[in-house]
Structure formats: structure tokens, C-alpha cells
């Protein structure tokens, strides 16, 4: 920050060029940022302003950029023409907005929607605001490379903020709507009715049970496979085939796992927790293999060679030298992998049901938090009077809250393990 200000009030630059482009570009920078921010707020709150105001807003911005462009012609002709072009586009938009009616129907093209000026102009505010800010940063630094850099970095920061926005919305909304519904009774009682009353205990216990099954099946298989890939076979043909298989398995859609369960496990074990657990284990397997292999890879070769040189066998080396320091990394991967699989709904779709009485039976149908949420969501439209529907919706929010909390806790645990045992070799 200090750096930027230092450059701005650099006397040499001020002396070299007139200060007018600086003032104008600073003005257009502030205005553009303001516009982008306003556009975001309008879209987020759906609190649209009157349509003809947009025209004035764009007109003001256009004039600002016109002034910036004209005043900066002395500094760099080519680049200031770019700015003049930008202001021309703004004027064109103002002209178009006065010449055409307030909404553009797409029906005549066969689309079942129409574009309202409210929406288009709010998006326009954001886009032109961002581009304008980036451009005026360039003028502010006399079109030097540094100005381009700040312009680009500004857009990248905005990019990151947009990426984080859904996360804020999801966590915020789920907490606001879901947290008030969490009561002791909700956490500890059976599902009653069609989910409109009672609690979610079977779903919580079911999710934990699935995690336990995954822990006993996916974790040994995953770590074992990682050990083979990383420690035993180097550059082998078999390794390439296995690695390819892991990559393919990682990409297999969750619904395909569901179909697989339906065709393979259901005839064997019925629609049961065992089926659900096995399928989720297969789903989590490639993630665990990948992260465990990463953890093993980070152990330097010299440690292994030292151990082997002392006369230890390969297995002794793995057991005593390689595994212990890579354990934090492996555990992190296991926690994240199991967490991701436990939140998955599609593989369980064919074996789950809404109403399960406690205690859940290993050979009985699956109840889990994600499938519970999905079923409640599916029932939102009908079945029962308004009060029941509202209660079901409240329970859906609370279920989402519990599920999200579990996932967040697992993520935090993984993070703590990784940070605490972080070792640089």
C-alpha cells in the first residue's frame, strides 16, 4: 500500500507529466469500483433501482473516461485511444437503453425467458466497473507496466472474491436457517411421520456407521495400494496400469457407483448398510490412495537408503522409517476422503430410505444425513398441510446444518493435523 502511494505522489512523475490525467483517472477508478460494488449489491439483494437511472449512471462513467482518455493522449497515444473506445462503448449503451423498451423477449427465438434491463444493466455495472477500474489503474501509473500489473491483480483479487462468494452464501444460509432448529430432541429422536416431526438420530448414526465401514475397508486397501505404488514398484508396467486405474476410478461418477451397487452388491447383500458402506469405500478408495501416495512421496530417498544400508529389509524400512513420518499426511488424506464420501448421496440412492427406527440394522436399509436431506427436499412440494410442509423444510435446513458441520469439522481436523506435524525435509 505504502509502495503505491509512494509512486503516486512521486514528484518526478508529477513534474514530468501534467497532473490532470491523474485526477481524472483516480476519479474514474473510484467510480468504477463503486459501480461494480453497486452492481453486486443490486444482484445479491434483488433490490433493483429504477431503469432510467442506469442510463445516467453509464453516462457519468462515460464522461469520466472520456476526460481521462483525452487528458492522457500526451502520455501514450495508442493506449489512451483504448480508453476513448471504452467510453464510446459506454455512450453507445446509454443510447441503446433509451432507444429500446425495457425488456427483451427471447420467446421469438424459441427460448422461454426474457432479458430484463434490470438484470442486464446490473451485470453491465459489474462488468464495466471492473474493466474500467483495471483500465484507469493503467492511466494512474502513466501506462507503465506497473499500472498494467495492478490492473490485472485487481481483477484477480475480484476473481477470488467471486469464488469465495458461494461459500459464504452456503455456510451463511445453512447456519442462519438451520441452526435454530437444532434442539436436543431433534438430535436424539427417531424420524416421525414423513420427516415433519421427530429428529434425525437414525441419519446421524447411519452416517457414522458408514464412516466406520469405510474406515475398515477403504483405509487398509488405500494405504496398502499407496505403499505398493510408491515403495515397491518403480517404473514398472504394472504401476502405470494401476495408476491409470486409480485415475479412472477417481473420475467415475457417483451415480455409476450407485448403479454398480444395484447390479453387484444388492443381489449379494440386499439393500443394506453393508452394501452402502462397501460402495462408499470404493468411492473413497482412489482419494485415499492418491493422498497417501503423496505423503509417502514427500519422504526423502536418503532416509530409505540409510535404513537399507544398515541392513534392514524393505518391509522393515517401510514399517519403521517411511510410514511414521508420513502418517500425518496419510491421516489427513484419509479424513478428507472419508468426509467427502460420507457426504455423497448418489451411490446410496438405490439402497436408502427415509424412515428408519433406532437402532439401525447392519442388514437394514441405509439412513444417512445426505439421503435424509434429499428425501426431505423431494417431499417439499406436497403431502400434508402447510404447517407440515414448513416443518419438513425446517428439518431439511437443520439436517443440512448438521451435515455441513460434520464436513467442516473433518476439514478442520485434517488441517490441524497437517499444520501441526508439518515437516520439511
Amino acid at each position: 500500500m505504502k509502495n503505491i502511494f509512494g509512486k503516486l505522489i512521486n514528484k518526478k512523475i508529477l513534474h514530468e507529466y501534467s497532473s490532470r490525467p491523474k485526477i481524472f483517472s483516480l476519479l474514474s477508478l473510484c467510480l468504477s469500483c463503486l459501480y461494480a460494488l453497486a452492481g453486486f449489491t443490486i444482484l445479491a439483494t434483488e433490490d433493483y433501482i429504477t431503469e432510467n437511472i442506469y442510463g445516467y449512471l453509464f453516462l457519468i462513467l462515460g464522461i469520466c473516461f472520456l476526460a481521462t482518455g483525452i487528458s492522457s493522449i500526451k502520455i501514450n497515444k495508442k493506449k489512451s485511444i483504448r480508453i476513448l473506445g471504452f467510453s464510446l462503448i459506454l455512450f453507445l449503451i446509454v443510447f441503446l437503453s433509451t432507444a429500446y423498451p425495457s425488456s427483451l423477449s427471447l420467446q421469438e427465438y424459441g427460448l422461454s425467458a426474457s432479458l430484463t434491463y434490470n438484470l442486464m444493466f446490473s451485470i453491465g455495472l459489474i462488468i464495466f466497473g471492473l474493466i474500467g477500474a483495471s483500465l484507469s489503474l493503467g492511466v494512474l501509473f502513466n501506462f507503465k507496466a506497473l499500472g498494467n500489473q495492478y490492473g490485472a491483480y485487481f481483477l484477480l483479487v475480484v476473481c477470488m472474491l467471486i469464488i469465495l462468494y458461494p461459500l459464504v452464501i452456503i455456510v451463511g444460509q445453512v447456519t442462519i436457517n438451520g441452526a435454530p432448529g437444532i434442539t436436543w430432541e431433534f438430535l436424539t429422536s427417531d424420524v416421525r411421520g414423513l420427516g415433519e416431526s421427530g429428529g434425525v438420530l437414525p441419519a446421524i448414526v447411519g452416517t457414522l456407521l458408514l464412516m466406520v465401514i469405510m474406515f475398515f475397508i477403504a483405509v487398509p486397501l488405500g494405504i496398502g495400494a499407496a505403499i505398493y505404488l510408491q515403495e515397491y514398484a518403480g517404473g514398472h508396467f504394472m504401476v502405470r496400469v494401476i495408476k491409470m486405474a486409480v485415475t479412472i476410478l477417481r473420475g467415475v461418477p457417483s451415480i455409476v457407483f450407485g448403479l454398480f451397487a444395484l447390479a453387484f452388491f444388492v443381489p449379494l447383500f440386499g439393500t443394506s448398510f453393508l452394501t452402502g458402506g462397501l460402495v462408499l469405500s470404493f468411492y473413497a478408495l482412489p482419494m485415499i490412495i492418491r493422498s497417501s501416495a503423496e505423503a509417502l512421496k514427500s519422504i526423502p530417498q536418503s532416509l530409505r537408503e540409510g535404513s537399507l544400508a544398515l541392513g534392514a529389509t524393505k518391509w522393515q524400512t517401510i514399517k519403521k522409517v517411511v510410514l511414521p513420518p508420513s502418517l500425518p499426511g496419510i491421516i489427513t488424506g484419509v479424513v478428507l476422503g472419508i468426509g467427502e464420501a460420507a457426504g455423497e448421496t448418489a451411490p446410496l440412492l438405490f439402497v436408502s430410505t427415509l424412515i428408519i427406527k433406532m437402532p439401525p440394522n447392519l442388514m437394514g436399509m441405509v439412513a444417512s444425513l445426505p439421503t435424509h436431506l434429499f428425501t426431505l427436499f423431494g417431499l417439499r412440494g406436497g403431502l400434508g398441510d402447510e404447517i407440515e410442509v414448513a416443518a419438513r423444510m425446517q428439518n431439511a435446513w437443520s439436517t443440512a446444518f448438521i451435515l455441513l458441520t460434520i464436513i467442516l469439522i473433518l476439514n478442520v481436523v485434517a488441517l490441524i493435523i497437517r499444520e501441526k506435524f508439518r515437516k520439511e525435509f
Partner: protein
């Protein structure tokens, strides 16, 4: 000595067996899916590519829907994701990176059913109002939600590819007097772009295979939108077709749903193989170069 050696061999054999388990799973999945879908391919025949699911049991409409949703998702996820990746690897300071990385991980870890739930309750009404649609449950909503869900993958792949560009190339550029941004734009990004592109195929696979969110924000109707580019209408998508119609399906319909699964599996696997192959070549390039 000989006994000890043979014990080592047994251990290695056990690990090999465990490691090959993934191959068995792939084989099993393909075998059982294909076995269940054979009747569909025989009896429906060429009609399987027609857009009419209700009468002819064709999957053409669903394949089209999948492509539209995936395309929309990539349009959103790519620019933002690559921008996020550049920010993380080139712009952010060490501590910002250490905060943002786990947050992106959380974004990737949120269950798809929650994305779908929020999408259906917040995004869909918003779209209904904004575009004056009859119903906001549409392919457009699906594309947006899937785009947000694909973001973390694209971000981390771009970040990894940019980070794996050898440092000396960047330093040479900086030493010549280029600003960090010029270096990123002209040197680092072009060098990493093949890696980012390889990761792109993984993103496509993930977007194609996403089920629950699509089911919840597009809904599982069987009528394909007319005309085909009407993204403001709801329509069938391969994944949501399977998930939404399994309950009421019987006889040949079940086999057709399995055939949809086979299509998905094959497309996504090809994507994975391409990305693996490209990443292998890139690794070789940087190591050799």
C-alpha cells in the same frame, strides 16, 4: 537368509494384490453395468440416440442435456478458476495462500446435496425472477451450480500447474526487467497452460458425472427442451435421468438406465485417460527440459 527373503516376497505380493484391487473394481463396474445394459442395446437398437425417452427410450435428449450443462459449467468455472489459480500461485503472499488453500478445500468438500439444496432454494427463485421464466428449474441453473462445484478442481489444477513451472525460467524473465505480471502472462502461464488444459479434462469429467445437484435444480423430466438451445427450460441429463427415474422404472427401462450409466462411464473414463496421458507427457517435458 532365504526364509527372510521369501517373507519379503510374500509381503510384496500382498501389497501388489491390494494395489491391483482398483483394477478389479474398474473391471467389475464396467462388466456389471454392461451386462445389465445389453438388453437395452439389443432391443432399443439405434433408437437409443433419439431424443424421445418416454416413448422410444432414447437417450439422445439426455446426452444433449449433459453436454449443455457441462458446457455452461465450464464457461463459468474456467475463467474464474484459472484466475483463482493465478491469484493463489503468483499473487497471494504466503500467509494469504495458507488461509485460502484450506478454504478452497472446504469448497470442494461440501456435499453435492447441499449445493443442490441451496441452488434449488436460492438460485432457482432468483433466476425465475431475473429472467421472467415460468420455472427457474432449468438447464441454466444446473450449469451455474455445476460450474461452482467444478471451480475448486480447476483452481487447484491451475495452481499446481503454475507452481510446477521451474523457477529458473521465471527468474530469468524477472532478471531481464519484466514485472511479475509480465512474467506470469508471457512466461509462467504459457509454460503451465498444457498442464491446465490437461486438468481441464478432469473438470469436464467431474461436471458430467455430477448427479444430485443436477437432479435438484434441473429436475428429472424426460421431455428434451425444444429447440435444443433453450437453456431456460428443464430437460433430461444423463445423471439425473438415472437417479430420478430408477424408482418407477421396470423391465427394459431399467436396462436403458444402465445403458446411460455405460455412456457416462465411458465418456468420463476417456477424459481421465486423456488427462493422465497429458500429465505424464508434461512431467516428462519439464524433467527433460
Amino acid at each position: 537368509m532365504i526364509r527372510k527373503l521369501s517373507k519379503e516376497h510374500i509381503i510384496q505380493g500382498i501389497f501388489l494384490l491390494i494395489a491391483s484391487f482398483s483394477i478389479f473394481i474398474i473391471f467389475f463396474i464396467f462388466f456389471f453395468l454392461f451386462k445389465e445394459s445389453i438388453p437395452a442395446f439389443i432391443e432399443v437398437g439405434g433408437d437409443i440416440f433419439s431424443a424421445d425417452f418416454s416413448n422410444k427410450l432414447g437417450l439422445g435428449g439426455a446426452i444433449r442435456g449433459s453436454l449443455i450443462v457441462t458446457g455452461g459449467a465450464l464457461l463459468i468455472a474456467y475463467p474464474l478458476g484459472i484466475g483463482g489459480g493465478i491469484f493463489l500461485s503468483e499473487v497471494a503472499s504466503v500467509w494469504i495462500r495458507r488461509i485460502l488453500k484450506p478454504i478452497i478445500e472446504v469448497l470442494a468438500g461440501i456435499p453435492s446435496v447441499i449445493y443442490g439444496f441451496i441452488g434449488a432454494i436460492i438460485l432457482v427463485p432468483f433466476l425465475t425472477d431475473s429472467f421472467r421464466m415460468v420455472s427457474g428449474f432449468s438447464l441454466l441453473a444446473g450449469g451455474i451450480i455445476i460450474g461452482v462445484m467444478t471451480l475448486p478442481i480447476i483452481i487447484s489444477i491451475s495452481d499446481d500447474s503454475l507452481k510446477s513451472v521451474p523457477r529458473d525460467i521465471k527468474e530469468a524473465s524477472l532478471a531481464l526487467g519484466a514485472t511479475p505480471w509480465q512474467t506470469t502472462k508471457k512466461v509462467t502461464f504459457p509454460a503451465a497452460s498444457s498442464g491446465i488444459f490437461a486438468g481441464a479434462t478432469l473438470g469436464i469429467g467431474k461436471a458430467l458425472g455430477e448427479t444430485m445437484a443436477v437432479l435438484m435444480v434441473v429436475s428429472a423430466i424426460t421431455r428434451a427442451p425444444e429447440p435444443w438451445f433453450d437453456i431456460f427450460e428443464s430437460g433430461p441429463v444423463l445423471t439425473s435421468l438415472i437417479a430420478g427415474h430408477w424408482g418407477e422404472a421396470y423391465g427394459l427401462k431399467v436396462n436403458v438406465l444402465f445403458a446411460a450409466g455405460v455412456f457416462l462411464f465411458i465418456i468420463v473414463s476417456i477424459m481421465s485417460i486423456i488427462s493422465e496421458f497429458m500429465q505424464y507427457r508434461i512431467e516428462k517435458k519439464f524433467k527433460g527440459g
